[in-house]
Symmetry: C2
Subunit: 295 residues, 2 copies
């Protein structure tokens, strides 16, 4: 029996770990500005994330079984769209799918780097089609890239093909101002760093809440690019300064009420650090898949 | 896009709905005495249920794909045991697996009735083996049934076979004092009734919390048999009287604090209405699968 300390007879597959990472990410609390175990947003509730996590499973399994990144991602987003809360996990999936693919070889930065660099124009087409499934918040591209605006969905595919752009190329172009895309160009640097940090935290607290602790450190580390897109650089910088102040005063341990107030305050301001949540979920996956943490 | 009111392009499979029912059940709050969105028990945390829900997936898929009830149940329990909290969903699975099998034909009481009556001695053997995976709370059987004590696990299988007992026979013998087994002998009466009740609740609240409301009405309806086994009939009857008083005063709407206090109080007393949670999860599955509720 697992309670006796003996290892369970079955272990989790990469698709299992990806699904579990998504569940643990949303359950971790306090996770300022985001849906968590104790907070819903107005139209986006905890249960939308639960339903989404069920829906994305087939796409994650495709990735685990050797599908290309584009089709696996598109299928995952299609499954995410079976729930009625809108965009729950688009960014998480853009990180998790290549990580799951990499786990077939070795879940290490150079491998993930190759995996994303090997993406094709067909993968990019899938990515554009995925935008038709769900309302993802994006800003207008510069004028010269207007034909590649993701909001055009599949209509942009002929332009993609004419220019021969792969999914990696597309994300590389999005890097300034999109820290999910940035992971694709840095060997998933913040993801792996956060996984290491997660593994070093004491095991006496729920893993989901250790995820929330790493979330706060990521939020203090760099301004959240979803907040930047929606509310501007000044707003995102302010949130990061506030998170830094809480971290520096060790508030999670010495003044938890201050962190809870910050969480409520961000929800009220509508400042939702979605990118930071995406990287937290990816870090949970890496730590689970490497066996560095367990539930 | 699902937010616009258009139906999603994909719908949920029976295995999806079963997994989602398990997640919604544990997330519903206040669910007095049980782990819920706001409460952990000492050694059994919310995240153990999340991990368990991921682990049971292959067993649920077996059921959805036409496997016999015994092997599907055994595989689900094996997957449940990949997490370290112990027994999370044994009883839920004993209800969900036949319901998922029935959904291949028609999810109606007479069909589920046939499905469970068609179980075999081999299914019973799987059930006994499942007890080796996880520590399930059971009481000693009467002396004449000692050879069939589930705590003997696979050692009891020769005795099962000698007597030619099917899984239905075994559960029928457990009925007095086990309301999960009772569902097997009544065409899942309380499950279907609770699903109807769930579908009738106003849709303005999270579905998980509507599940919690149905949980409270089930708890008021009959004493919880897990509390009976652990703490005796008087303790279970007291909990039912308390739940009835809250329901009769419409406390969920007029005095929610009273329900929250009751929830905290049951956790403190260690009175855990596990059977009631099992039936709630099964009812959520039926309502989801019939399209009577949605997320």
């Amino acid at each position: 029996m697992p309670t006796s300390g003996e290892p369970p007879t079955r272990s989790r597959s990469p698709a299992d770990n990806a699904q579990l990472a998504l569940l643990l990410e949303v359950a971790g609390t306090p996770k300022p500005g985001n849906v968590d175990r104790h907070r819903d947003l107005e139209d986006l509730r905890f249960e939308h994330f639960l339903a989404s996590t069920v829906g994305v499973r087939p796409g994650l399994e495709m990735a685990a079984n050797g599908a290309a990144i584009g089709p696996a991602f598109e299928r995952a987003v299609e499954g995410m769209a079976t729930q009625r809360g809108g965009n729950t996990q688009f960014g998480c999936l853009l990180l998790l799918v290549p990580l799951v693919v990499a786990s077939r070889r070795d879940l290490a930065p150079p491998v993930v780097e190759s995996v994303v660099e090997e993406t094709t124009v067909a993968d990019a087409a899938c990515f554009y089609r995925a935008f038709e499934q769900v309302d993802v918040y994006v800003t207008a591209p510069p004028d010269d890239l207007e034909p590649l605006d993701v909001r055009r969905g599949s209509e942009a595919i002929p332009d993609l093909e004419a220019r021969g752009l792969t999914l990696f190329d597309i994300l590389e172009k999005s890097v300034p101002g999109d820290d999910v895309a940035r992971e694709w160009t840095t060997g998933f640097e913040r993801t792996f760093d956060a996984a290491t940090k997660l593994a070093a935290l004491p095991e006496d607290r729920p893993l989901a809440d250790r995820g929330a602790e790493v979330f706060l450190s990521l939020l203090a580390d760099r301004p959240d690019t979803l907040i930047e897109k929606r509310h501007g650089k000044a707003a995102a910088a302010k949130v990061t300064r506030e998170a830094t102040a809480l971290l520096e005063s060790d508030a999670l341990w010495s003044d938890r009420d201050a962190v809870e107030r910050f969480a409520d305050d961000l929800v009220e301001r509508g400042h939702n650090p979605g990118t930071t949540a995406d990287i937290t979920a990816a870090a949970l996956f890496v730590a689970l898949e490497r066996g560095a943490v367990d539930v």
